[in-house]
């Protein structure tokens, strides 16, 4: 029912990550990019002495909204309708795509221009429209690079973060003509020249477009106001010049009051691009005769969000305002990049949002989804920078429990049971350690049996020449004192492991 927000056919995280970390160019790009943004963020966050209070207020406003989400959605619907907009409700991706396609078809147009939007990527809108004979043109520079390169986004904020200027130039030269105005002859790989080529490529399209599709950063329940923050002006072009505007908005984007924006418009730009304010923010309420589109449609989307809401630990993920600060500080993301997560929502937030949207609590998710809660070292840097204080490590651990209980990560479960048996008894542990030490030169890089899946995703530690226990005996001449006599545990029967491993 709920369509997957994951990229089709992506391998599980460990497999995808291995190929990513062995790409030095990618790692160089990612390191430079994530460190640049995190430094800028730290600088502008440091300008606000009340950041902690703003962050607490942002979290509390979102929690308050989520706890009465039905009421705020109804209020938003009424306010948008009163201002001349039309509100649609979509239970899942397929329904949202059908609503948008029908609205576009009703205009008689076969092309739409798009503002960068995570949610329309989540539902696969461009592909769904293409199947209906409608071509969707991405207009954000990074999204354009991704679309022209027949590529996948790898970062929430800068989706082409994995591409360098030479690659971008090559994509423009090769593909622009196919999509419209070709790249100018002699195009250099200077960012200014590439941005100018994008401007020329899209200009005529903006001026002639009749239908636009956007997402929104916020939807104010009290007034029906939608907010889109952006940098390039492509958003303003799409939101202002066409006759019809269709905005697809997740139900978690609602905020209760106009005044609540005072918190989020301080938190978001500083956390996201590391700017005091992004160059352009557009706010509109319904339709304004003579200014902007004459038809405005709001599509409210569930697509798994109510499943996230039902999990009392996991629901905090719905506070997310898509700033991507957690990506930029994550040691795992920095090394693997966004593609390894196999989803439009990469990084720490993706690791908790995607499994929940896909129903991890039901235990019926694919291995790719089940691997995501493990794509973290639980270092907590993501929680530190989150402007709405989502405790990502807490949710990751919670989701790991669900994966294990759902039988998702079988190998890890078996390994933990085996470890429990070994560590339960000092004699068993000593024996295992000695065997390991003596045979360490013979040990493979890969654990045998069910452990193989575990070691495939991790570098095996070096086995020391001598165990701590043996060193102690040699140095001090006596075995370490045993802890106070614990009641003897019956050994775990082998068949229990096998059963769990089934």
């Amino acid at each position: 029912m709920t369509s997957p927000p994951t990229f089709l056919g992506m391998p599980p995280f460990p497999e995808a990550a291995r190929s990513a970390v062995s790409n030095p160019q990618l790692r160089h790009n990612l390191r430079k990019a994530t460190h640049t943004i995190r430094d800028k963020r730290a600088h502008v966050v440091g300008e606000l002495s009340d950041w902690a209070e703003l962050r607490a207020a942002g979290a509390a406003i979102k929690d308050r909204t989520l706890r009465r989400l039905d009421e705020y959605l109804l209020a938003a619907e009424a306010a948008v309708a009163a201002a001349g907009g039309t509100v649609h409700w979509a239970a899942d991706a397929a329904e949202a795509n059908r609503i948008v396609a029908d609205l576009v078809r009703a205009t008689g147009e076969t092309e739409v221009v798009k503002v960068k939007s995570m949610v329309t990527q989540e539902i696969g809108l461009n592909e769904a429209l293409a199947a209906e004979g409608i071509r969707a043109y991405e207009t954000d520079l990074a999204e354009l690079i991704v679309q022209l390169g027949d590529d996948l986004p790898s970062h929430i904020l800068v989706p082409a973060i994995h591409r360098n200027r030479a690659e971008i130039r090559e994509i423009f030269v090769r593909e622009m003509a196919e999509w419209g105005v070709p790249a100018p002859p002699g195009l250099s790989d200077e960012p200014a020249a590439l941005a100018e080529a994008a401007r020329r490529h899209l200009r005529e399209r903006f001026l002639s477009a009749k239908v636009a599709v956007s997402g929104a950063n916020f939807l104010v329940a009290e007034t029906g106001t939608l907010v889109v923050v952006e940098s390039e002006g492509n958003g303003r072009m799409c939101l202002t010049l066409p006759e019809t505007l269709i905005s697809v908005v997740g139900i978690e984007k609602v905020v209760p009051t106009w005044a609540d924006l005072e918190v989020f418009l301080q938190l978001l730009p500083r956390s996201s691009t590391g700017e005091r304010m992004n160059p352009y923010t557009s706010m509109w309420t319904g339709v304004t005769p003579g200014d902007g589109p004459r038809d405005f449609h709001l599509v409210l989307l569930d697509n798994g969000r109510t499943d996230v809401l039902a999990d009392t630990t996991g629901r905090q993920a719905l506070r997310c305002i898509r700033c991507s600060a957690c990506l930029n500080v994550c040691p795992v993301y920095e090394r693997t990049g966004g593609h390894a997560y196999g989803s439009v929502y990469p990084g720490p937030i993706g690791a908790i949002l995607v499994p929940q949207l896909r129903g991890v609590a039901t235990g019926k998710v694919d291995p790719q989804t089940a691997s995501l809660p493990y794509a973290s070292s639980l270092c907590g840097a993501c929680y530190e920078v989150c402007p709405v204080a989502i405790d990502i490590p807490e949710v990751l651990v919670h989701l790991r429990e669900q994966v294990v209980e759902g039988g998702g990560h079988r190998a890890e479960r078996a390994a933990m049971r085996a470890a429990e048996w070994v560590f339960d008894d000092a004699k068993r542990l000593r024996t295992v350690q000695r065997v390991a030490a003596r045979s360490r030169r013979l040990l493979p890089r890969r654990a045998p049996g069910p452990g193989a899946a575990w070691s495939d995703s991790r570098a095996l530690p070096e086995v020391p020449a001598q165990s701590f226990r043996d060193w102690w005996v040699r140095e001090r001449g006596a075995p370490p004192a045993r802890p106070p006599a614990a009641p003897a545990q019956p050994p775990v029967e082998k068949n229990r492991i096998e059963e769990d491993d089934r």
Partner: protein
């Protein structure tokens, strides 16, 4: 069941743990503003930091300052929204101004959602086509609010600000900002703004950092933002 009913039912089911009389408090102990003095100086510094061109002028010097800016830019045509004070363009040669007739008018004002209507008055100019806007060299507007802490200018379709396309399509935006309309902070700005109006918040010229995070000014919006601050 409609999807509307289904989604609302799923939301209510998901919130079974939340008491029906739940009142989740929001502590608003953050600052209303981070600066009290030097607001205008901070506004100028932050505008320049994001590479806007800024001049400070006295009220009676404004017509000359507008004319000088137009001449520096080499602009032959400048879009002027309805409601722009005629004195501002008194120093311009004839034929430079391209007047746009659209004006925001409230149908009623008893709701937070004030609805406007298109001006249909004989004394107003025609509404310019998008292709005319595309050939214009620039646009001259007033502004509703300035925000010092973020270096932001907010347009709200008020007199002399026009519809949103006017400050989007031409490549040069010359904006007159009255010092009295500059506030310190985002919270103070929102208090002054009407959510029923179409609002555009502008912080420096159009920009992108999508290529190796190198900031490039000017993608689709005006590539140059020039601000005349009237003390």
């Amino acid at each position: 069941m409609s999807s509307r009913a289904a989604i609302l039912a799923r939301v209510r089911r998901a919130l079974a743990d939340v008491p029906s009389d739940d009142d989740f408090p929001v502590a608003r102990d953050y600052a209303r503003a981070h600066v009290a003095e030097g607001v205008l100086e901070l506004f100028v510094a932050h505008l320049r930091d994001y590479r806007a061109v800024v001049h400070e002028v006295a009220e009676d010097a404004l017509p000359d300052a507008v004319a000088a800016a137009v001449e520096r830019r080499g602009a032959r045509t400048v879009v002027t929204p309805a409601g722009l004070p005629p004195a501002w363009t008194a120093g311009l040669a004839e034929g430079v101004c391209l007047a746009d007739g659209w004006a925001y008018e409230q149908l009623y004002d008893n709701s937070i959602n004030n609805r406007p209507t298109v001006a249909d008055r004989a004394d107003r100019a025609d509404i310019l086509t998008t292709s005319t806007l595309d050939t214009a060299d620039g646009v001259l507007t007033a502004a509703a609010v300035g925000i010092a802490e973020t270096g932001t200018i907010v347009l709200d379709a008020g007199p002399g600000q026009g519809r949103r396309a006017l400050t989007l399509v031409p490549d040069w935006h010359l904006c007159v900002m009255r010092a009295a309309d500059v506030v310190a902070s985002v919270p103070q700005a929102l208090e002054r703004l009407d959510p029923g109006r179409p609002l555009t918040w502008i912080s420096g010229p159009s920009a992108t950092s999508d290529i190796e995070l190198d900031r490039v000014e000017g993608v689709h919006g005006p590539r140059t933002l020039e601000v005349l601050i009237v003390r």
